[in-house]
Amino acid sequence: MNPLVPQVATIQAIREETPDVRTFTVRPDDGRFPPYRPGQCAMLSLFGVGESMISITSAWSPETALEFSVKRAGRVTSALHQAEPGHKVGVRGPYGNSFPVDRWVGGNLLFVGGGIGLAPLRSVINHCLGRRAEFGRVDIVYGARSPRDLCFRQELFETWPSVAGVGVQVTVDAADAEWRGPVALVPPFLEGLKPEAAGTVAVTCGPPVMIRYTLQALGRLGFPDDRVFTTLELKMQCGVGKCGRCSIGSKYVCIDGPVFSGAELKQLPAEY
Amino acid sequence: MTAQPRLVGFACRWCSYAGADLAGTSRLEYPASVHLIRVPCSGRVDPAFVIRAFQRGADGVLVAGCHPGDCHYASGNLFARRRFALVKRFLEYLGLEPERFRLEWISAAEGRRFAEVIREMTADLERLGPNRKLREDP
């Protein structure tokens, strides 16, 4: 079977997260989508428009449909934002590596997200919370440009905080009238929280700039490179390591990534 | 009913499109081969439109505008005249039959002439048969 040919799937529900982020619930018409691990992506496409690599924000289970949180940016994602439940999409995957969750067992987890970057984290957070007993303390630090740009509000403010041993800290770059919470960029905000590095794995995802400064911050906080993880995003055409688009050095983000440890990142040329 | 040639026409809204309307109000019958696309002025017609029509399966293309001197915008049709004089020759240079592309001046008062041009051109295209040149595979 040609890996470039997608499964036809149907949009079942659309949830508006923010003015420019929507979460699509998608179920393949043949009902089967291979099991996927937290951090993996899939090629989501509109027929006649094109494809876009999107991280899967849902945590896999046999019955739940796929969820994708999509930020309106280019041609495909803009068209997706015009789509309605019942519309057909193409989906192929899952692609890429995933967060090495099993290697984290027994440790504390620190998730640092920015903006739409919470999408890939959400799948791993929910995956880990599904295995709550296997981990120590779980801290979630999340920030967005403004209160209206915060994704997954329900989980942020209700679901996750209600889980034992889970702390959620939310900040915004710029407040609005209602906002009572902290106002700060994520990296300094994180440093201010002084999370305990010892025995903790840090996972971060967000805009390139935010990732860069967060990694530096984590370094200063004493997190060793091999216990810091992030995901990279590059333009992709095939998603299966053929089209050449997403190569960084001798790696292809689509198959060798998107998850990289801080140590691996240091090995890559700065072409991302 | 036999399959008719497909004739795509670009008509300036002030003269030729109105001329076609007049043909209508005068109930002058002409072949249904032609489908007009309304443009503000023959000077608006980019040769890319003509090429696209041939690519997508038009058997002929007509660009129609006001008579020289009568352009609602003073000069649009005079630019069009130069542009399509070249384009027509170039298309022939590429091997297209001359009858497949025409630039015509049709005023708002020339409903009869519009019908006449369509009849003529349709007859030419029927004689030539379907166009395959420049055309993508259906």
């Binding site: 015009q82 789509a83 | 696309i37 443009v39 029509a53």
Partner: protein, 651 residues
Amino acid sequence: MPRIGAFICHCGLNIAATVDVERVAARARAIPGVVHAETYKYFCSQPGQEKIAEAIRSSRLDGVVVAACSPSMHEATFREAAALAGLNPYLVQIANIREQCSWVHSDRETATVKAAALVAAMVAKVRRDQPLEPIRLPVNPRALVIGGGVAGMQAAWDIAEAGHAVVVVEREPNLGGRMAQLSETFPTLDCASCILTPRTAEVARHPRIELLTWSEVREVSGYVGNFSVKIARRPAFVDWDRCIGCMLCQDKCPAPAPIAFEHGMGMGKAIGVSFPQAVPNRPVIRREYCRRFQGRKCQVCAKVCPVGAVDFEQAESCREEKVGAIVVATGFDVMPAAHFGEYGYGEYPDVIDSLAFERLNSSSGPTGGVIRRPSDGRIPREVVFIQCAGSRDPDRGKPYCSKICCMYTAKHAFLYRQKVPDGQAYVFYMDIRAGGKGYEEFVQRTVEQAGAMYLRGRVARVYPEDGRLLVEGVDTLAGTKVEVAADLVVLATAVLPREGARDLARTLKIAADEHGFYSEAHPKLRPVETMTRGIFLAGAAQAPRDIAETVAQASAAAAKALGLLTRGELAADPLVAEVDEARCSGCLVCRHVCPYQAIEPRELAARKVASVNPGLCQGCGACAAICRSGAMGLHGFSDKQVLAEVGAICL
């Protein structure tokens, strides 16, 4: 995804008889993005528009295609209907399946297929339409009137009376134009100046009217509501602010000068006014006749002037006026002598034209209203009037009828008989055109009371014989050759646009016909508007007409101008060009093809891009077509829209 509604109109049986509208609707429904398709008897009717509005609301439409009659019929109707239902009116497109389908094809099958294709094309187009807002243009409430004749004065007066400031530009030193040269007016024979002088005074006095005489329009830029006009005032060599109008200068000036006003019948002075009642009552020095300017040392005027207003150093001055509307009332000229060799016009002093005859008639004229022939000042016993001199003569003159000649010739014959009771007037004519209130009756009076002899036919030639002029012609009714020995021959020469009318047309960017008369936007429905928004026409500048019509038209032009000026701002069609600055390379080839100078370069960061003035742009799309990169777009007719239409048609 787009949510487009397609509405297929039966137009009674006009469409439905030839096109299977239900099938067209079904085809439309099959187009991706079309979420609603229905047919109805008459969508243009109130209930029809209601249906569209209802569908827009209930199906949350973001695009509407109405398949019906030509967009020239009801595009506006349906756009308004959509707007009322909350849909941007520019998201409505019309598929013309009546004029261009059902009315011209009889085969139901082919017509139906074509109609469906036309609908598909419009669906493809409307999908790529953007919501647009009309362009709001501020309107400068002032008006400019070009020409200070009876037309210009009437227009200026009406506009000023309505409360708007008006600038009147007149090429001559004073107001009045042609009418001021006339003696009496037909058919009532009131004296022209008796009617005109009070009106002239009113205009001159009016607080909201500014007179710029001895001046010319040099440059016009801008657009409707926002014209900027450069006006040059020729040097009068008299400081009009100082001048008290005593005219001592004129009395004492030793240099005679033929002044245009007397039309060759009388002389004026190198300094002075054209006629006694001139408004403004201020003199000008005509360089070409002034001794001082001819290098001789005459200073008479300067010496006699009690207020030292004479200023030989005065130079041309230029000023700029900002106005919202322009009324063009530049009037007419008559055909020059050169055309009439066979009549000896210009050769024999006693062959004159009608305007000259008006001066001979005028009590304020050179002869004090006594009709004397130019050669020897004798009172002519026989006068021959030749009509259609240059008019209705496609070969040698003008093809058109000058319209006023029949009447003023009758008037001349009548007045002549009044002043020379034993004189005999002959009138050579082609036809008598006396359409107008009391006109025909007046011609009859001329024949019956004034005993003028009307001879139907053309005059072959006029030649002198012992002090008189022999007029050879044919009486085509009698079929006989006629020969009249006359003391004076008066030619009803053809009416022409004012000299320089074409240049002014270019300056104003308005159209003129082959003869130089300004073209109206529509001969029936927009007779006083030009194709250029904000510029209106009054009087003989547009075509030959008499005073009554001229004044009526002047008021009409004023009303049109007021319709514009009374609005604080006006809305222009947003279907204009717009530059995608990110793509523009700044080659500005678009600038060369823009007929409206609407494109200007704009500095953007370190580079130059084209930018369109939406006020000037008329949406012709020449720029969009010549732009290679596709940076220049045209709202409503973008490359992508037209290409999509092509694609849809060719499916």
